[in-house]
Symmetry: C2
Subunit: 163 residues, 2 copies
């Protein structure tokens, strides 16, 4: 019974790992080459520093998520996981927000600054970036819920025993 | 002695409140009108949704920070503050990262997307946005440290008594 509970407890972490890893891969493979008025133009994630940051942050959080999955139940490091969850949630939030802000300009442009939208020219690239952001957002939501649950657990000594 | 300790404990929250409030005001008052080739052009924070989000998020966190300053010592709500700190830290991180991503494009432009930098035209506006981001970043750092300290305190029953 306790074993089932523990495995179920790891399920959100497994989902979060899957989400951040998918976000990394989908964003890192996003590129599209098009010809506009005879000029060949390639859009890829390395064009914007915010999207590069997204890939790096999601890769780091994926590595952390994988390590936590293999942490022994008896380890005292589980107490450190709450603090690490907080740090990695902040990093993930930062990368997704920055990428989302740039993606919004890419999709809608900004008439005040004279920045034109580019999704009309590279729709496949835009869809892939949108997909990566959506999956990354799912990962972030899971990490925020895990963090709040851990804080709640840490504040209630009876719940800590569950870990 | 305990009273001095408690007042000192509120000092980082007072600093964080000052930082988020300053960031809100500095960003919300950022605007510059210039004439370019006979056209009058005004740059202000409402031009970019990321900067509007920055003002709203910092205003909300300022209101929260002010309320916490007046929370009675004996209140059981202090236990909820750890979870609320986590939520507001995530909101603050999100708004600063999004604003920073847009500000970077405003300063350096993005040659791949054909987005031109605009700080050469409106330097005063750019300086004010940079100032708001810097002050907001200080507020964020304090909130992250407070959150990690709270988590550490919650995990160590002896430290909880300090609150």
């Amino acid at each position: 019974m306790t074993k089932i509970k523990r495995v179920l407890g790891l399920l959100p972490r497994l989902l979060a790992f899957g989400a951040t890893l998918s976000a990394t891969i989908v964003m890192a493979t996003s590129h599209e080459r098009v010809n506009i008025l005879g000029f060949s133009f390639e859009a890829k994630y390395t064009d914007a520093s915010a999207l590069k940051f997204f890939v790096i942050a999601n890769a780091i959080v994926s590595a952390y998520g994988l390590l936590v999955l293999f942490l022994p139940w008896e380890s005292l490091l589980w107490r450190l996981v709450v603090a690490l969850d907080a740090v990695f949630t902040v990093i993930l939030t930062s990368s997704i927000s920055a990428a989302l802000a740039i993606a919004e300009v890419g999709k809608k442009g900004n008439s005040h600054a004279g920045w034109l939208p580019m999704c009309g020219q590279v729709p496949k690239y835009c869809d892939q970036v949108t997909g990566a952001l959506a999956v990354g957002f799912i990962g972030l939501i899971i990490y925020v819920v895990l963090l709040l649950y851990s804080i709640y657990g840490a504040l209630n000594p009876l719940l800590v025993l569950k870990f």
